[in-house]
Amino acid sequence: MKIAVCVKAVPDATAGRRIDPATKRIDRSVELAISDFDTYAVEEALRLKEEAGDGEVVVVSMGPEKAMDALRKALAMGADRATLITDSALGGADLLGTAAALAGALESESPDLILFGQQSADGGGACLWSAVAERLRRPVISQVSELTTESGSVTGKRQTEFGYDTIRAPLPAVIAVSDAINTPRYPSLKGIMGAKKKPQSTFSAADVGGAVEPATTVVALAPPPARGDARKIEDDGSAAEKILEFLAEKRLV
């Protein structure tokens, strides 16, 4: 089985995440790292491949050229190859543009299963998989916390606001996994050393069907409204008394 895992290279948490006031886009000039939520999808793909005894796991992403460095973490975990859609024409793509580009690359790859993480770490809408499934005209299951494959189909158990759903779909299918599905492995030293040598290819905008104009705009940025008089204290043995005082002050007790 060939499994494609769609991942996003986001500004590393330690580097800080900010929106560039000039471009009104997320500043990606800092060090990039694969979004933590995506490592669960990589892990699940590796688990399925190992269970089946054969297959291929390819990591697919869109971003600036240096995003390839971030994709190497997935290769170090055990993915077989990485492919990056990178083109300045795709900068500032919104949901429609991103879905179109990913779908274009996925059509070239024609995997049996397409996996996503449950959301991006830097401000996504947690819905890209559904947009990609619509482009590909394939079934979609989101928030999956247990995944099994049978011959030609996939079954996902997922959690919603109301309880648990079990949904089955024929392959190829698009699945977004939740972070309850597994514990992602740490790359081994051997994996890290071998990652650079694994095949890494790129697609241009033209390769994936051209850039799609954004249908959303960012008009302005502003600091958020302050959350009242937020206080943080260290317990010096009197925290319980201080909490009670605070609750009394707010007339909550």
Binding site: R17, R18, I19, I26, D94, L95, L96, A99, G125, C127, L128, S130, A131, E134, R135, R138, V140, S142, Q143, S145, T155, Q159, T160, E161, G163, D165, T166, I167, R168, A169, P170, S178, A180, A215, T216, T217, V218, V219, A222, P223, P224, P225, G228, D229, A230, R231, K232, I233, E234, D235, A239, A240, E241, K242, I243, L244, F246, L247, K250, L252
Partner: protein
């Protein structure tokens, strides 16, 4: 004038409060407001849309729509928007709504803005981004505008009106019906709903072990509130699913939310950030929960909570 359609999500014979809240918001935008109910055996839900501000409620009632799956709903909405000329489609955030809205965006070539906490009559939405560190004004350049509002942003308002009820066509695409619901295990509500509680004491992994939920229960009892839990402890079997707050649990907005041993991951935050006052106790001073707590206490909850329970009881008696 804007022609606005609100996706009215429902569960077990009732339209979700979040959807009715979005109807109330739509009513302030100076347009003509319609709602749409999609499912099987859902015709009688349409009236509730009218009572909460919809002038027209479209009903797509078909056995093929019984399971709450997104893709058949995209088919119904795309046809309805095309046939009736809606220029704005609004959703309240949910697992289902996000999947429906994204599919519809691609189908219609329409822009989708998510996680909005406001929208004005000029078509500018407000979205807190990057862990709420910046407030972004967003707009649309497409003819049809799609928006998902952050859960719990707007309260439902009874207008006492009544809606004209119309049928929406159900013509499903082949690929839309390939995913099938095999089983739904929807937990029955146990005890009073945390959604209606004015005080909530929530426990996370920092409690250490399932037995320690007794601490949360004692504090909740002392404060006259209900007990909630994070997804991590529900998944671990420490507490029932009906008490789960977060992205795939309940969305709550009590007067007081006390978070015990909760790190404040984004999945949890989205379910409780609408609380009036947030008090958190966590031994990790770097826990994200402190970024949105009114009072954050760095310390050992196992020492602090028993004392606090005594103090609250003493004050109340």
């Amino acid at each position: 004038m804007a022609r606005i359609l609100v996706f009215l999500e429902h569960h077990e014979g009732a339209i979700q409060k979040g959807s009715l809240g979005v109807l109330a918001k739509a009513g302030q935008l100076g347009g003509e407001v319609s709602g749409v109910v999609i499912g099987s055996g859902v015709r009688e839900l349409a009236e509730a849309g009218g009572r909460h501000g919809a002038a027209t409620v479209y009903v797509a009632d078909d056995a093929s729509l019984a399971a709450p799956l997104p893709q058949p709903r995209v088919d119904v909405l795309a046809k309805l928007v095309g046939d009736e000329g809606f220029d704005t489609v609004l959703f309240a955030q949910s697992v289902l709504a996000a999947d429906v809205a994204a599919g519809l965006a691609v189908r219609l070539g329409a822009g989708l803005n998510w996680d909005l906490v406001d929208l004005d009559a000029d078509g500018i939405g407000k979205r807190p981004a990057l862990a709420d560190s910046v407030l972004v004004d967003v707009g649309w350049s497409s003819d049809v505008r799609l928006a998902i509002f952050r859960a719990g942003t707007f309260d439902a308002v009874e207008t006492g009106g009544s809606a004209e009820i119309k049928d929406a066509a159900v013509e499903l695409q082949g690929f839309s019906t390939q995913a099938e619901m095999v089983e739904q295990a929807h937990a029955d509500q146990q005890g009073p709903s945390i959604e209606d509680a004015e005080v909530i004491v929530a426990g996370g992994r920092g409690l250490g072990e399932p037995e320690k939920f007794a601490l949360a229960e004692e504090l909740a009892q002392a404060l006259g509130g209900a007990v909630a839990a994070t997804r991590a402890v529900v998944d671990a079997g420490w507490y029932p699913y009906s008490a789960q707050v977060g992205q795939t649990g309940k969305t709550v907005s009590p007067k007081l939310y006390v978070a015990l041993g909760i790190s404040g991951a984004i999945q949890h935050k989205v379910g409780m950030q609408g609380s009036n006052v947030i008090v958190s106790i966590n031994k990790d001073s770097n826990a994200p929960i402190f970024e949105f707590s009114d009072l954050g206490v760095v310390g050992d909850l196992h020492e602090i909570v028993p004392k606090l329970v005594e103090l609250v009881r003493a004050r109340r008696s």
